[in-house]
């Protein structure tokens, strides 16, 4: 590794913005993610067509000026359905990440702070959850408690919990022996307060990176569940469901399968690039390696 001069780098927001522009992954990922989010927001106030409006005469039309992505087997506009479907994907994945963080991070921090048998027990339980095939268990949960967006969120969220618990614990464990934490302990602060004041701010960046990764995985998982008919129910459009409907009609109308799939790929790609970029920016060690 080459020696780098210890230059006085600018700090604060300006440095962050400069770093963001220099990081291609982050920039591309951020733009894609922002566009997808904007598309979801726009769909609340405007879509080219009403997605609940069926025009049987227009069914399975190819690409045209009126319908840039064509129409489906009920004559609904595919572009409008993809726009509305993005809401569902984003909402499910985002809340599932929230569940994972909301439960996993406190558990991981608690395990790291207490150590001993509590730590051991929590981590062993983590192993058990990891041993369950996630997709299969999600299918089981949605099938038993009924299909629908809410149960899909819960099913995906449960498997985010051990991921965040593990990441938070590993991060917190590396911080507890640090001098500033020792100083805080010496000044008589309790473990909970130290966790809130010193541990959490310092593991926030790795949690953010993990969050974008789980977000992307959540979008893929939601698409899988709704492909199996276990996610959002019709008439609410969802990308996975659109692919399921496309499968039997692919011989006559391949465009039905192309566009919803591309929507998934682009969204996941954007989030993954964003996550990679964030990691590079937040982890100076990696930054130097590249």
């Amino acid at each position: 590794m080459s020696m780098q001069p210890l230059s006085a780098e600018p700090t604060g927001w300006r440095a962050l913005v400069r770093m963001a522009f220099a990081n291609r992954s982050f920039l591309v990922g951020f733009i894609i993610t922002a566009l997808i989010a904007a598309m979801a927001l726009v769909s609340f106030v405007w879509t080219p067509y009403d997605v609940t409006h069926l025009v049987v005469a227009d069914r399975m039309k190819g690409l045209s000026a009126e319908h840039p992505f064509g129409t489906d087997h009920f004559g609904r506009d595919i572009l409008s359905m993809i726009m509305v479907g993005s809401r569902n994907s984003i909402a499910v994945a985002l809340v599932a990440v929230g569940i994972g963080m909301g439960i996993g991070v406190p558990l991981g921090c608690w395990a790291a702070a207490r150590g001993g048998w509590i730590d051991e027990a929590l981590m062993r339980f983590n192993d058990v959850v990891f041993a369950f095939p996630a997709l299969l268990s999600a299918v089981m949960i949605t099938a038993i408690f009924g299909p629908g967006a809410i149960n899909a969120i819960i099913a995906i969220g449960i498997f985010n919990v051990p991921v965040f618990a593990r990441v938070a614990r590993a991060g917190a464990l590396s911080l507890w022996p640090r001098e500033y934490v020792l100083a805080a302990r010496a000044s008589g602060k309790g473990k909970a307060l130290i966790t809130i004041e010193h541990i959490l701010p310092n593991i926030a960046s790795i949690l953010l990176v993990q969050g974008t990764i789980q977000f992307a995985l959540g979008i893929l998982a939601e698409a899988g569940l709704s492909y199996l008919g276990l996610g959002a129910q019709p008439p609410m459009p969802s990308w996975g469901r659109m692919l399921f409907d496309a499968q039997t009609r692919m011989m006559v109308a391949p465009h039905l399968a192309i566009f919803p799939g591309l929507a998934i790929v682009i969204t996941v790609l954007g989030l993954n690039l964003l996550g990679d970029g964030l990691r590079d920016m937040l982890d100076p060690k990696l930054r130097r390696q590249r």
Binding site: F132, Q247, A257, V268, L269
Partner: protein, 315 residues
Amino acid sequence: MTAFLAKRIGIGLLTLMVASAVVFGVLEILPGDPAQLMLGMNATPEALANLREQMGLNQPVLLRYFNWVGGMLVGDFGRSFTYSSPVIDLIAERVVVSLPLAVISLILSTAIAIPVGIFSAARRGKAADTVSMGAAQIGVAIPNFWFALLLIYVFAVWLRLVSSGGFPGWNAGIWPGIKALLLPAVALALPQAAILARVTRSAMLEVLGEDYIRTARAKGMPRRTVLWRHALRNAMIPVLTILGLQFAFLLAGTIIIENVFYLPGLGRLVFQAITQRDLIVVEGVVMLLVASVVVVNIIVDILYAVVDPRLRIAA
């Protein structure tokens, strides 16, 4: 090594015990009674009473749990109520589809990903690296069932090289069987290969920065030898971890792909059992899959020790 193994096996057994309690518990705390759940709301009281008797629901909870676990230990997974045959027979019928599918995809993905990962690491920052890692970045984002649909369209609908789904059974011969598994295996393998290639590349990069690599190069060892003999072996640990995870995923995660291709595998069995509320089948298959994840993890741990002698001594 023995102590290391004993500890890993102990943790594995503990995992299985907790998992069995969780599976049993989840189905136990389900609202309503399992017999009612399985037969639906319109079931006659006699049918309900019969099923309750057959499932042993009139016995105390703990006794039922131990009967269930004890049965599984001797290969008795209970009797399916929709197929009216022993669950173990159903599993045996389906494993011969799912296991070859998982093995073929794992071989495919490893054969693609490891050379690509090494190649990329060796040419870090060059055009070849940028292109292959860009492709991997896209590969990670592709849902395997969408990729499967595209493959069906190109190879089955358009080129008519293979059928778009179904499985002729191994009785029809080895080649027709493998041919039916080819598209599903490719669909499963490519997104996995993308992940594996990225992991291999970053593991290789980490190792290539080590002092002993420079020493090996400095004493005149050819680049190629350093790459394959010194670097690859040391980069194997994270690669093995991902391989283990992927094999476990492939065994269970084929649930969607098997539905896309109408393959009579474990995933489809459990999916149908779930939708038909055949809980005994669900319990059995889930426990079997959890057990295979545990076994794969133990094998991966043993392989760690084989690859890295330091772990053998430390343990």
